[in-house]
Symmetry: C2
Subunit: 114 residues, 2 copies
């Protein structure tokens, strides 16, 4: 039951790298959090994340969709609206987001203000 070409390597490196391939980068986790907190529409998400540009948001949403972390729902009333929602995979990131959140609260101050 091979997962991958791990050879003799039994470190945390590859599983962490797998995770980073999906949610690494500057914006993906922030986008997931934003949708989590109630933003469903493109412009809502864009406005909720400072410095995130339309172009990059469009690209990141596509990648997140490809990786099954969110759905793009076309709501067919008039006019058509688009709604982004999280998948169960994305929701399972809750503990990941939780630890990053509390690490940020605890350590940012210490590192920047010492």
């Amino acid at each position: 039951m091979k997962k991958r070409d791990h050879k003799e390597c039994v470190s945390a490196l590859l599983p962490v790298k797998d995770t980073l391939d999906l949610i690494g980068g500057k914006w993906k986790l922030l986008i997931i959090i934003s949708i989590w907190e109630g933003n469903k529409h493109f412009r809502e998400i864009e406005r909720s994340i400072p410095k995130l540009s339309t172009k990059v948001l469009a690209k990141e949403l596509k990648e997140l969709e490809m990786n099954k972390l969110l759905h793009r729902n076309v709501i067919d009333d008039f006019p058509v609206r688009i709604e982004y929602t999280l998948t169960e995979h994305a929701k399972s990131l809750k503990t990941v987001i939780g630890t990053l959140h509390s690490w940020g609260l605890t350590h940012r101050k210490a590192i920047f203000e010492k």
Copy 2:
């Protein structure tokens, strides 16, 4: 006791962003893990992380040092050797790495092979 200009925002976004500013990006966490697992020297770290180039490693190590996540120790015997070691801040990332690790083990398969 203001932390930052949060205005009305009380979401997880900014603390997570703070964390990502320090350990986000493709390589930083992997480098921390590599050192954690016993690699102390430049070439050791480089070889332990597939696809990581010397140039990028040099840059990332500088940034990690600046952000007090590791120390660059010059060992003054002959010849001079350089040793990279983690700070306590980096060690406090243990739970972060742990959650990313187990998320990777659980979800990578589901997302890529479905």
